[in-house]
């Protein structure tokens, strides 16, 4: 297998982007990422695009080909990846594999989602139906299941088994709002206190409106290439892909071997750590899939940073905040930076690339050498984990 490097990274401002359609979002991430790489765009040999549901949100299928044509690269081979909320991580992994295997030298990985659509095109009920179509229709849609209710049930079981509290969930959410307040690309750039989070209206117990991921428009792009090409372009700024993992778990909320651990995450992390020959304690900074306040606490356990059941206490001790021993979701995460579904996994790679290049500005983690990204799709059905490192290590 060949070594693979990230040489360019960028993302759009996240939010309710009334000013931007799919083409504009694609351009806002892809063009600066290609410029950042310092390559001619004609050097791109394939475009791997992550998108969850443009076919319903935007009446648009085959979005990867649209992206290529809209970027002036109509003859580049393309493919779109859909793995619910894990789409971005899965697309990145497939591009990594293609370069490692010697099929391509340079691939553009794009993530894009435009979820906010004018109401004359879709009423609010349809918008929610589209957002939650990543659950098992036959067995679990009939009770009104959505992302919030499924993770709410995992949260309650975790609280029951380990004593995790609502305050711990709110504390972690407040920490991520603070991180987002430092991120000019985030949807909600303001701090929110633990008290306000706890007093906000409930969406699905135990989550308030401040503890759920945001319906977001956004895009992110990275350019991946070979070692020879990367080190020739800019040796200091190139970021190495050290490990890649892809795990599976049950697609059922009810029928699974655990409601407090995501097996998909555990398996993806094991594969990535093994490939990178690193341990959880080697990681300096993390972007993980905090689709709801609770999810981050479960993730940091499943990723091996803290013993199962202790995630809430680890967060309460301040370890996951900027300045702590393991800053988690320096971008602000899915509840504050936003969750444009297919974009999210690629956006995590952008944030961690910037951290390893010392370009994260107010969010910079000092001396960050190793970074980890983690996405989770469906009811813990799909996970992708990547470990990145500075090129000078």
């Amino acid at each position: 297998m060949r070594e693979v490097y990230i040489v360019g990274a960028h993302e759009s401002v996240h939010g309710n982007r009334r000013d931007a359609d799919l083409r504009k979002l694609i351009a806002e991430a892809a063009i600066p990422a290609i410029k950042d790489a310092g390559i001619d765009k004609r050097e791109i040999q394939a475009i791997y695009l992550a998108n969850y549901n443009a076919n319903q949100f935007n009446n648009q299928n085959t979005l990867a080909a649209l992206a290529a044509t809209s970027l002036g690269l109509p003859h580049v081979p393309t493919v779109r990846f859909e793995a619910a909320c894990a789409s971005g991580g899965v697309a990145f992994r497939q591009a990594y594999i293609a370069i490692a295997a010697g099929i391509y030298d340079t691939v553009l990985v794009l993530g894009v989602e435009k979820m906010n659509v004018p109401l004359e095109e879709a009423d609010a009920d349809m918008q929610l139906q589209w957002a939650k179509s990543g659950v098992d229709y036959r067995y679990e849609s009939g009770v009104g299941m959505n992302g919030a209710t499924m993770f709410a049930m995992f949260a309650h079981r975790h609280m029951h088994e380990y004593g995790t509290t609502r305050e711990m969930l709110a504390f972690s959410a407040s920490k991520n709002k603070y991180h987002a307040s430092l991120n000019p690309y985030a949807y909600k750039q303001r701090e929110v206190s633990v008290e306000k989070i706890l007093k906000s209206p409930i969406v699905a117990t135990p989550f308030s409106t401040q503890e759920v991921s945001l319906i977001t428009d956004g895009s992110a792009a990275v350019v991946l290439t070979t070692k020879d090409k990367a080190l020739g372009l800019n040796k200091k700024m190139a970021v190495k892909v050290l490990g890649s993992g892809h795990g599976g778990g049950s697609f059922s909320v009810a029928f699974r071997d655990s409601h407090v651990t995501m097996r998909a995450t555990v398996a993806a992390a094991k594969e990535a750590y093994s490939m990178a020959n690193l341990k959880p304690e080697d990681i300096d900074v993390v972007e993980c899939h905090d689709c709801f306040s609770f999810t981050e606490l479960m993730n940091i356990e499943d990723l091996g940073f803290v013993e199962k059941g202790k995630g809430g206490w680890f967060a309460m001790d301040g370890h996951t905040r900027l300045g702590g021993k393991l800053p988690v979701n320096t971008s602000g995460g899915l509840c504050a930076k936003g969750h444009p579904i297919g974009c999210t996994g690629v956006g995590q790679i952008v944030e961690m690339t910037w951290q390893l290049q010392d370009r994260a500005e107010k969010r910079q983690v000092k001396n960050a050498k190793y970074a980890l990204t983690h996405v989770l799709g469906g009811p813990g059905a799909i996970s992708a984990v990547h470990i990145l490192g500075r090129s000078d290590l």
Binding site: Q129, V143, M145, I202
Partner: protein, 109 residues
Amino acid sequence: MNIPAIKCGDCGTVHPRGVAVCPACGSEKIQEYEAKGEGEIHTYTVNCFVPAGKFKDRAPYVIAVVRTVENMFLTALVDTESPFNIKIGDKVRFRHYEDPLTPVFELAS
């Protein structure tokens, strides 16, 4: 009320009817089975934010993962006048399928 289910001839897993193979072990030796509609709440949430659709007038309402006495797990509604008093371990019994996709339980006590 019993719940239409399957039972795996190899590993014994019981699962609501509709699967082609055993979802636990992949065995094709599955037989139709009537599961007892008695169980307890394994985990739950009270769904409060329902801006539109068939559950709008029902909210706040309980969605639960129910574990039956045969160790069958299924996602269902739990009909109660006091949704915020629901807790893990509460005993429930199956009432009916409100429609083909929506199993409904009620509190047993």
